[in-house]
Amino acid sequence: MRRRHAKARVFAKFCGLVTWLGTALLLVLLWQIFSDGLRWLDIDFLRSFPSRFPERAGILSALAGTLWLISLVAIISIPVGVATAIYIEEFGGKGKLVKIIDINISNLAGVPSIVYGIIGLTLFVRGLQLERSLISGALTMSLLILPVIIIASREAIRTVPDSIRHAAIALGGTQWQTVWSHVLPASFPGILTGVILGLSRAIGETAPLIMIGALTYVAFVPEGPMDSFTALPIQIFNWVSRPQEEFHELAAAAIIVLLVVLLSMNSFAIFIRHKMEKKLQ
């Protein structure tokens, strides 16, 4: 008995240590990035196009590209992902097709992102002749994050107790009305978490974008989904691969911007979720 307690204590200590180690490592990393990049971060950095001269270089086109990309990805992947999850959980029954989709989704979530890049290249850039455009990138990224969104949404939908569904059905609601007014609102926080996880991944991914041929030097702001583009991770990748120290610091500054975009997206989600949960209680 006592030995078991001792073991449990050692294990708890170990877990605590690992957690702190991870956090500390992250803090060191952040500190380094901030100390490198902060002095380059000003309005001009956000307003300028990339340049051969570090003092004049900025991230306007990359930031615009990332914002465009993430908006398009959200527009494409959220409806498709949530609709798929609803179909599988609420309407699919236990048919063979659903089972096949089910297995495939779980597998797709583990496929390396470069593979999605290859799919995007053949399917969208060449197949559908969408060229190296924002829409090609957005479609590829949507494919990449769909499994995440679908799995999280299904999980959230499954936590809604059947008693709620039965109550709505017994009140003369159709299955669709039941899903729309009860199942979706109740599973919204979980779905949102999945969406944010997915979109955060899409913001940071570089490999698929390089694969489909997003440009590395862009001196214009994309004006529509068919324009070619670059994105923050590509700009960062480009800068760190240069030999000059200044460009490495520029990359750090761009990373800070990327982090800010990511964090504002997350806070927005947390804010909405908090509001929804308060309404539910």
Partner: protein, 263 residues
């Protein structure tokens, strides 16, 4: 169900039985839970279904408003007629059946929404023509919950006590203005006072609704119901006026069950 197939107003004067069951059998994946049950439910009366746990009471009750449609491996044989119309006929829409036949579940299951929205949801999705606010108030009054909640209609229904939640579920079902109200052990989660509340409520509702109630509590069945069906292992053993079934049952098994609990 189209409006021609069930016309509650005209049929009402002709039929005494609002629901008729004929040789109803239900199987879950081939195992019969209800076997060849036939009896009728009288209009504006309270009919109770009693019997030991697992004898198929809930299963039978769920057949009456087609809630078994959602249990994938359940199959139903026989004939169930509401106002003379077979509710399992191909042209009948199950959603429409549930407009006429409401249900209250064993465990209170309010929506995680406000009290008002709980009551208003059913009528809203079914395009209720009149004033929803009035309907909500009327339904809550019928369920004798109004006085307790009238000042906090916009609070969450999950903040109510178990008994209040169950009365809210009754109010919610009443707001659909059904012809029949099915209740599956509505008091099993409640204390004696809330139970008495709901029994009084059933008496009040009798003049306007037909009630079918499943209960484990035989005092309750004999107290509130006009007719009682006694089931055992999926079979209907006896169906009679409650007074006779509880005092002079014609079947020995009924007597054993009824007296065993009373004695």
């Amino acid at each position: 169900m189209s409006s021609q197939s069930i016309n509650a107003e005209t049929a009402a004067t002709e039929l005494d039985n609002i629901l008729e069951m004929e040789n109803v059998s239900v199987a879950y994946a081939g195992n019969y839970a209800v076997k060849n049950v036939s009896f009728n439910v009288a209009r504006n009366a309270i009919t109770s279904i009693i019997g030991p746990s697992g004898c198929g009471k809930s299963t039978l009750l769920r057949c009456l408003n087609r809630m078994n449609d959602f249990i994938l491996d359940a199959s139903i044989e026989g004939n169930i007629r509401f106002e003379g119309q077979d509710i399992y006929a191909r042209e009948v829409d199950a959603v429409e059946v549930r407009h006429h036949i409401g249900m209250v579940f064993q465990k209170p299951n309010p929506f995680p929404k406000s009290i008002f929205k709980n009551v208003a949801w059913g009528p809203t999705v079914n395009r209720y023509q009149g004033s929803i606010t009035e309907l909500v108030e009327r339904s809550l009054k019928q369920a004798s919950l109004w006085d307790e909640v009238k000042d906090r209609l916009n609070d969450s229904a999950l903040g109510l006590s178990g008994g209040q939640q169950q009365r809210l579920c009754i109010a919610r079902a009443l707001a659909m203005e059904p012809n029949v109200l099915l209740m599956d052990e509505p008091c099993s989660a409640l204390d004696p006072i809330s139970t008495a509340h709901i029994e009084d409520l059933m008496f009040d509702l009798k003049s306007r609704y037909t009630i079918v109630i499943v209960t484990h509590n035989m005092q309750q069945a004999s107290r509130v119901s006009d007719y009682t069906a006694f089931m055992e292992m999926g079979n209907l053993i006896e169906f009679d006026e409650s007074e006779r079934l509880f005092t002079r049952p014609s079947n020995q098994r009924t007597e054993d069950y009824v007296s065993g609990r009373f004695g």
